[in-house]
Symmetry: C2
Subunit: 405 residues, 2 copies
């Protein structure tokens, strides 16, 4: 039997790799003073219906539950965050800086290498309208990638502004109902044939392509770029008006991060969504955030060999005579474990040679030989690296084992 198409098993090395990514994410978020939250993996479909773009709704894993509710495996975290924030907004000091590492789900036609689930770091700043918050988020995303050993030769943050296009569309007299289609067309510029995009942009096509191709003068971009310059991060970013993010709810600065070689899908993406939260509770709350998935990032880190999980060494392997386990040895195991050491032994009778082979295969630091002498307070301890063996009093064991190599 196999896992469902698009779902991953995490065998211990895969899990260790995932945990390395998660713990790095958590560490850098801590430095930026973000705190972690989580929400339900299953939500009412309604939560996503009015708030998300169609492209997400079509791909939602949803179904009817036994209580006749239409429920969905969360396709994104922002609606959950918005729901949670609106319920308790007044109780929190602003700005609220929260992050989460939810598993998210999409039902797309099965494609090679295309998963139906991934884990996604979500970092959001709620209750702060200043562009400094957008800069902080871009800064955080850059620092996370740098913490994995990725540099400016590896990735680029492509930044745009929904407000730039809103102003453009307003000037052109485009009805607001047509904006979403416009953003969808821009979003597809790099994927679909130019003729197809031109058709969808209609009379605006020529001007749009000109705007995209020539350098852009827009004060809000200057503010963001200056903020990054002050932090010596300007070489990690560039303005790119083709970035609009598909999702309907973005309202301001938006960005996506790509590998410079262009081999992978986006590493991360986000932006400002000032109008979203009021849909949940009526209150007008500025907000911005980004998401960074574990799959694309993991592929890049594997390709560049930047993250190689290793398992911690076993501290002690306890070797018993084949004939009998002295009960004092079993008690010693329990005591060593209670003192914080990782300890292993064979559950069934085994030749001493085979026990030592097990110790070796578990990369044990020490083998500890229990014989009848344990009744007088002595065991033999073998340092597996130095291959030296000594008789030691049991009461000195903890001290001897603590000298980590």
């Amino acid at each position: 039997m196999q896992p469902l198409p698009g779902f991953r098993d995490f065998y211990p090395p895969d899990f260790a790799f995932r945990q390395l990514i998660f713990s790095r994410w958590r560490e850098i978020c801590r430095r930026f003073n973000f705190v972690e939250y989580d929400g339900p993996v299953l939500e009412s479909l309604e939560l996503y219906q009015k708030k998300s773009g169609e492209e997400i709704l079509n791909q939602i894993y949803h179904f009817l539950d036994k209580g006749n509710r239409i429920v969905a495996l969360r396709p994104e975290m922002t609606p959950t965050l918005a729901r949670m924030i609106e319920a308790h907004y007044k109780e929190y000091k602003k700005p609220i800086k929260w992050f989460s590492i939810p598993q998210l789900f999409r039902y797309e036609r099965a494609q090679k290498g295309r998963l139906r689930e991934h884990f996604q770091l979500n970092c959001d700043i709620i209750g702060e309208a200043d562009l400094e918050a957008d800069i902080e988020l871009i800064n955080l995303a850059i620092d996370i990638l740098r913490s994995f050993g990725l540099g400016k030769e590896d990735f680029i943050v492509r930044i745009s502004d929904r407000q730039f296009w809103s102003e453009f569309l307003t000037k052109k007299g485009v009805a607001i109902e047509e904006w979403y289609q416009f953003f969808q067309a821009i979003d597809k510029i790099e994927r679909d044939p130019k003729e197809e995009i031109e058709r969808r942009l209609g009379g605006l096509a020529k001007e749009v392509f000109e705007l995209i191709e020539k350098p852009c003068h827009w004060e809000r971009f200057e503010v963001v770029l200056e903020g990054l310059r002050h932090r010596k991060l300007e070489e990690y970013a560039q303005i790119d008006l083709r970035i609009v993010r598909g999702l309907a709810y973005y309202t301001g600065i938006v960005y996506e991060i790509f590998d410079k070689a262009g081999k992978f899908r986006a590493i991360a993406g986000g932006g400002r969504y000032d109008d979203l939260l009021k849909l949940f509770g009526g209150e007008d709350i500025p907000a911005a955030g980004f998401g960074m998935g574990d799959v694309v990032l993991g592929e890049i880190l594997k390709e560049k060999k930047l993250l190689e999980p290793s398992f911690p060494r076993l501290d002690v392997y306890v070797v018993f005579p084949e004939e009998k386990k002295n009960p004092l040895g079993l008690l010693l195991i329990e005591e060593l474990r209670s003192s914080g050491f990782s300890v292993e032994y064979s559950f069934h009778p085994l030749k001493i040679k085979k026990q030592l082979a097990q110790a070796q295969s578990l990369n044990a630091r020490f083998a500890l030989f229990v014989s009848e002498k344990i009744a007088e307070g002595f065991v033999e301890l073998k340092n597996m690296d130095e291959r030296k063996q000594f008789v030691v009093p049991v009461e000195q064991l903890v001290g001897l084992l603590e000298k980590k190599d």
Copy 2:
């Protein structure tokens, strides 16, 4: 809007509480040389159909996906583990000692305080038939609870053996197809009225109740109890033939852990399931394991005030003059964060007094004042506990901040 009935939002304090439980689980599992894995949250319903008891099948969250597969939110981890192990059994050294912390789902009629999801630590030993493996698992479960500060006055491991009952049923000539119903009746002894149980046990009722009430002589119990005695854990356990575990697949030693006051549902439960893995890949592999949920354990720890989450202190709050943020101050923030410190500042212009109030409310260790003097390499540093303030050279900052209180 609310989360779905039976699902939890984890606001930061709830998340911190959950993380404390998870990290304790992980730490004790490490000491016992278990390694972590994970599987998909969604599996084919088929995976559970032949392997689990009816009580789980009735409560499974399942639905038809767009590819016409009947899929289920995992109600338990063991079938996933069995699937994963069978696919790669030959590659692993035995015994395999794995743990996982999956979120599990059940669709039950909504009851007050009864959730539809919980996280459950799953610890399993695969490929070891010796009773020592059962003892190791009981030992691990006890040590986990002790690591939270729970003692023998707080909880008890109630141990039984499916083989005891199998032998009994064989002797009585009960057809094997009726065993599951028998175990279901025993499993309900403490919940359903005695008459109802007697009716379900039929002619065996009197003898069954006698067996349960009087001390039991059964060699395998002696082995397990002796193992616990050697480890000085005998006071945490007792033999109790009423424990059979509902699930169809158990074959040997089974146990459940309860609070001694009897106020809560089971804290943990598990046992040996030697016949399960061959259903997945044909190979006959002995296995045993237990599960411990986060909900009941969390309730007990809260009641006894044994686990109070605290947030790490903010290292540095950077205070800028209200009029202008000196860019060197922004660069300093980025550098301090890159050195591993948690740093916060106000994104918008704010009176110095209010910035200090923010520093206080974030429990900052230091406030760092950036003025024009930063151009000459100086800032002012205020220890927020001692309320002392000094002018310090920027190059000495990292050293000064590192002296953690």
